[in-house]
């Protein structure tokens, strides 16, 4: 909205290319680019510095790893959503309140990108995303995705099970929850310059949820690195929960004994809760959750409890009639 849009030119050059990004590029250039390529890349590095992350962002160092092998265990009952739809209709409040944040999101620097794991763990660690990918069992899964706003899509995600990451971290015996914190970069993310939201984006899971086989850390989609608007370089896919639980741009995972308060829960707790499992029987205060509109075709299909993943997760929740688990 025009009230608080910041123009591109209002962002200083140094803010548009944070120093660590610049250093990251250098490292990348030294490592990956052959001598013949280097001059051309250097030329566009200058450009990128002036425009805020330009062409170089396209060269994802993990691109060569894709596509990952598909895990056939997770089947769809519907067509995959066209890639162009899934990558152009995005809720990502860090970059604005409309669905059309593709352009704004391109300013996010995604390399280097470190993930920090801390809190109640045996082995707190900070690990570079590309190193992390080398240590994780990479695979592709086809999942349905159900937004709390009653639209849905079906996406081939690439990534690794969250359980593998939990195993790496070795949680202490009294850790009960995981808190996921996304990036905080108001200098590139216009939405974060709205000072009243308690940024960064926070979401949470119980340890049992996080180690459920469905919980998936995403690095890519459609057999490629994920685009920035979809949460690159690291996001969650929790197909039995409403979409807002699947944080994007994750930088920190904290193991704790206290139930985390998600950003949406913090600002509108009556509408968005901690569990947020999909359930057509519990309406959002302003709309029915009985059906969902498919991105792309616009077809309407009935919504299923746990988004159809009950066989995997129903045992996590003691009471199907308790609203606490379903908003």
């Amino acid at each position: 909205m025009w009230i608080r849009k910041r123009r591109g030119w209002e962002i200083s050059e140094s803010a548009a290319t944070p120093e660590h990004v610049f250093r990251g590029r250098r490292r990348f250039l030294r490592g990956a680019a052959g001598l013949a390529l280097a001059p051309a890349l250097l030329a566009c590095e200058k450009e990128a510095g002036a425009q805020g992350d330009g062409e170089l962002a396209e060269v994802d160092p993990s691109a060569g790893l894709y596509p990952f092998e598909r895990n056939a265990r997770y089947e769809l009952d519907r067509e995959l959503t066209p890639e162009a739809d899934a990558t152009s209709y995005n809720n990502y409040y860090e970059f604005g309140t409309s669905k059309n944040i593709v352009k704004a999101a391109q300013k996010l620097p995604i390399r280097p990108w470190a993930l920090t794991i801390e809190g109640m763990v045996e082995q707190p660690l900070t690990i570079d995303i590309d190193d992390l990918m080398k240590r994780m069992p990479l695979e592709e899964r086809l999942y349905r995705h159900r937004c709390v706003e009653a639209w849905a899509m079906a996406v081939p995600w690439s990534g690794f099970p969250l359980a593998a990451l939990v195993e790496l971290a070795k949680p202490a015996s009294d850790a009960k929850f995981l808190r996921f914190e996304s990036f905080l970069m108001p200098e590139v993310a216009d939405g974060q310059s709205e000072p009243w939201y308690p940024w960064p984006y926070v979401e949470g899971l119980t340890l049992a949820e996080a180690t459920n086989e469905l919980a998936f850390m995403v690095t890519g989609m459609y057999g490629k690195p994920a685009p920035k608007q979809n949460g690159a370089p690291l996001r969650l896919a929790l197909p039995w929960k409403y979409g807002f639980k699947s944080s994007k741009g994750i930088q920190r995972i904290v193991f704790t004994a206290e139930q985390p308060v998600g950003l949406w829960q913090a600002i509108q707790g009556s509408e968005y809760g901690f569990y947020a499992n999909v359930n057509p029987a519990f309406a959002h205060p302003r709309w029915s959750q009985e059906s969902e509109r498919l991105l792309g075709s616009g077809d309407r299909v009935p919504t299923q409890i746990y988004n159809g993943y009950g066989e995997f997760v129903a045992q996590l929740y003691p009471d199907q009639n308790d609203r606490r688990y379903f908003y």
């Binding site: 909205m1 009230i3 608080r4 849009k5 910041r6 066209p82 162009a84 739809d85 899934a86 990558t87 152009s88 209709y89 309140t97 409309s98 669905k99 059309n100 593709v102 639209w151 310059s193 709205e194 000072p195 009243w196 939201y197 308690p198 829960q265 913090a266 600002i267 509108q268 707790g269 009556s270 309406a283 302003r286 709309w287 029915s288 509109r293 991105l295 792309g296 616009g298 077809d299 309407r300």
Partner: protein
Amino acid sequence: MYPWLDRSGRVSGLKLSVFLALLLPGAWIAVAWAFATPDPAAGGLIAGAVTSATDAMPVTKALHEIGLWTVRFLILTLAITPLRRLAAWPALVQIRRMVGVAAFAYAAAHFFLYVVQQNYRFGFVASEIVLRFYLALGFVTLLGLSVLALTSTDRAMRRLGGKTWQRLHYLVYPFTALGLWHFFLQSKIDVSEPVLMSGLFIWLMLYRLAYRWNGEKSLALWHLLTLACASGALAMAGEWAWYEAMTTLGGSRVFAANFSLAAGLRPAWWVLIAGLAMALLKLIADHGWGRNRAAARTRAAA
């Protein structure tokens, strides 16, 4: 009688241009929808030129934009009388009915788009309107606006007679308030635009009260300055109260943002600026073109 003709049946430049301007947002939204494509390359040149947005859910987008224009046109309808008086431009009254009817037409299109978004499940739409308070508010507003639009033909106006017609059409104030309430309630969290529109609505209502209180004589500059400050302050207080009462976030953080430019000028300041612009308009009209117009009229008469 066509909306672009004046009383004597001649084409009026003012009415014709306003008529076309009122069609413009709708036409723009329709074209953007027609060319909506998630893939900018596939949409080609036209899509690139008319839509900044690529869109996988064009119906929802059009629904929202038409809703916004409905409220804007309602506010504009209510602004015409003060504008006419402050700018000393009596001819403006000719376009008031047209803008109001356009607001109704947009509201009807907005409702139709909701039916499309719900894949034409009429029974479901009816039950949603009953179940969801904000939809019930929208529906009552739409019914109210349709009564006002239906009684706005020349024939209906003649049949009702000026006094009755006027009394009936005072209902546009409560209906606008209901529409604004619907606007607030449908927001996910950000109520900047509803606050802006409601702040303008507050100015328009305060103006009318002040005009009455002043014995229906033109308001002085200091009246208008007071109105501007009062509506800005009410908008700011209202925004605080909304977040305080309706969200877990609370009001104080948003209130504090009024005094920082980090996120741009907050809506209450725009309300103040709009109020000051009305005062400025009066100042200019009194000293500049008001006199020129009066002179022109005398010349024309002579």
